[in-house]
């Protein structure tokens, strides 16, 4: 019966207008980001070159006048820095201006594709949350849930089939869209001959990132569905998530902890970025004999595994609560 229910839910999922909008939204996000990738990887225009040349000429005059002194100062500072860190390198030999320094930054696929994919992931996560919520909440708002339960009264089966289908289908859709996005970014930069220095590692990293996005997106859909079972309204689901991010992540955890390592948004970021590391507090500063002050801070490190487990635990708790409530609560 459960397999049959799941097949029904798959048919319903694929036929839902909300899912069509999800796909349209995902593809739109990919195309918009792809367009941005194309723009940012374009070669400089004649105007850009002329402006860069003019700026270069101005800087060159300054350099001829003060360059030697600037290099000497730089080397002096570098020597002092090497007393604390023997590997300190202030690139004093590369201070001379060049025309390229004054050209607009030109992105390449190799350097920027992961960043672009992260931008797409934000849309995917939001859309998936909404799809998960509406997939369940619409049944309550239309009353179709009560009709459904007169055909299949085992609420655990009904809950399970919906949760599994919305999770898997949305995750698969996100994986496909991520693959599409990588292809679009490649094409957009290739048009401009700006794919950069790509290696096997470039694509392995992108594949790994796509996988993490797909898992996170599936989790967002499951969370949306679980909250849909709890609140029975899509708008309420969105309000709960925003409220959580503001009240719990933004206020409570910040107030209670110096390093809010349990924040949902932070762990999500850590998961998507395959880890997170940041100096979050100054523990002490020392000024050396040369007058340079160095400070030590507390490092907040969240590994990808830790982040994944934290998010999975949060979703599991909400889902379990939703199941208990759905099994016990009256359905109008």
């Amino acid at each position: 019966m459960t397999g049959r229910l799941a097949r029904v839910e798959v048919r319903r999922y694929l036929a839902r207008a909300g899912v069509r909008w999800l796909v349209i939204g995902m593809v739109a996000a990919v195309l918009v980001t792809g367009f941005a990738a194309w723009r940012s990887s374009r070669p400089p225009t004649e105007g850009d070159l002329a402006q860069a040349q003019a700026t270069y000429e101005l800087q060159k005059t300054n350099w001829e006048q003060f360059g030697a002194q600037l290099v000497a100062d730089c080397r002096n500072t570098q020597e002092q820095a090497r007393q604390r860190d023997p590997n300190a390198d202030l690139a004093c030999d590369q201070m001379a201006p060049t025309v390229e320094q004054f050209l607009p930054h030109r992105a390449t696929f190799a350097d920027a594709a992961q960043g672009w994919l992260s931008q797409v992931a934000t849309f995917l996560l939001l859309l998936s949350l909404i799809v998960g919520a509406t997939f369940v909440a619409a049944e309550f708002s239309t009353g179709a849930m009560s009709t459904w339960l007169t055909f299949e009264p085992r609420r655990g089966h009904v809950f399970g089939s919906k949760a599994v289908v919305v999770t898997l289908m949305t995750g698969i859709a996100a994986l496909v869209v991520s693959g599409l996005a990588v292809g679009v970014f490649w094409a957009a930069t290739a048009i401009n001959h700006a794919t950069g220095h790509t290696t096997g590692r470039t694509f392995t990293d992108l594949g790994s990132q796509s996988g993490r996005i797909a898992v996170a997106t599936a989790g967002a859909a499951l969370l949306g569905a679980a909250l849909g079972f709890l609140t029975r309204h899509t708008a309420a689901v969105i309000a709960v998530v925003i409220g959580w991010l503001i009240a719990i992540d933004g206020i409570v955890l910040q107030a209670l902890m110096d390093a809010p390592r349990w924040g949902a948004a932070l762990n999500l970021q850590a998961w998507l970025s395959a880890g997170y590391e940041q100096t979050v507090g100054i523990t002490g500063c020392i000024t050396d004999s040369t007058g340079i002050t160095g400070c030590n801070g507390t490092k907040l490190v969240i590994t990808m595994t830790q982040a994944g487990l934290a998010i999975a635990a949060l979703i599991a708790v909400v889902t379990a609560l939703a199941l208990v409530v759905f099994r016990r609560r009256d359905v109008a």
Binding site: E139, S146, T147
Partner: protein, 312 residues
């Protein structure tokens, strides 16, 4: 005791509303015999829909026992749900799906062949509009689609909750005919309604509820006869003399417009008494006892909403 399709014992359900408990169903003992149409009659808010929802496992009772075909529910509902087809209040479907797709999903869920969808859509006269979105259906069409959905399982027990709400006269007649036809095929039809005439026309047996409690139950003809002697309406030229005469016989007489209404006597008694006194009625009619009168006699509550007319 005849086999029971539905049985409840001591059923109770309360809701929390505006900070206080509201009793929807109280100590309800309901028995629906297998086969035939059983009317579940009561005014709006008397607990009919709540009772049906509890039987279907949509609402949890506070206390009491329920069974369907001898199987305790809601615990045993998965075992008997295949024998139950139900429409609770307004038919509810996925609005952006066609009628056919809605039924196909339900059919797939219960393992019924897709071919059966076309059959039941034809049975309820929806074959022509089967591929239109449900949101474009009239209320009557949605009601017929709901009936088609219940027929997918070929159930032994059909539960219709206020099935003719919002339907036009032709639709009402069609639904009544469908329910009667199902009962004639050996099915048990439990129909809840607040409309007296509807229940009176099709029900074999009846349960009357008021304020969540059962106030009467049994075959319709027995409940009607339990209402006592029917009043007799008399049209006579000399109303004052006739009224005096009939009261003198110990009967109750009331003026209603140009007529007298006599209770406690048959039309034959009244006719004989008037004739012996040399008075002749130009109208003499026994008012038919109906469920509204029975209901009022039994419950002494406010009159029920009715599409029919009260006896005049």
């Amino acid at each position: 005791m005849a086999d029971l399709a539905v049985s409840t014992r001591g059923l109770r359900k309360t809701y929390r509303a505006r900070g206080r408990r509201v009793v929807a169903v109280e100590a309800l003992d309901l028995e629906v015999p297998a086969g035939g149409v059983h009317g579940f009659l009561g005014p709006n808010g008397s607990g009919k829909t709540t009772t049906i929802r509890m039987l279907l496992g949509l609402v949890r009772p506070d206390s009491g026992d329920m069974s369907v075909f001898g199987t305790p529910v809601p615990r045993g509902l998965p075992a008997v749900v295949g024998r139950i087809g139900a429409i609770v209040e307004a038919p509810k479907f996925f609005w952006h799906f066609s009628g056919r797709r809605n039924l196909e999903l339900l059919a797939q869920a219960i393992g019924v062949d897709r071919h059966q969808v076309g059959v039941v859509l034809g049975d309820v006269g929806l074959a022509d509009r089967a591929d239109s979105d449900v949101r474009t259906y009239s209320l009557g069409m949605r009601q017929r689609l709901a009936i088609a959905a219940t027929l997918l399982k070929d159930p032994d027990l059909l539960i219709f909750d206020e099935p003719t709400n919002g339907l036009d006269p032709a639709g009402i007649r069609e639904v009544r005919s469908t329910m009667r036809g199902l009962a004639d095929r050996g099915k048990t039809v439990l129909v809840s309604s607040h409309i007296l005439t509807e229940v009176q026309q099709i029900a074999d047996t009846l349960s009357i509820v008021a304020r969540g409690r059962l106030v009467a139950s049994g075959p319709v003809h027995e409940l009607l006869s339990a209402g006592g002697a029917a009043p007799v309406r008399v049209g006579v030229a000399d109303r004052d003399a006739a009224s005096h005469l009939l009261r003198g016989r110990g009967w109750t007489v009331s003026d209603e417009g140009s007529d007298l209404v006599v209770t406690g006597a048959t039309s034959l008694d009244v006719n004989r008494a008037l004739a012996l006194a040399g008075m002749y009625a130009h109208e003499l009619r026994t008012e038919r006892a109906d469920l509204e009168q029975v209901f009022l006699d039994l419950t002494e509550t406010e009159p029920l909403a009715s599409t029919g007319r009260r006896a005049k």
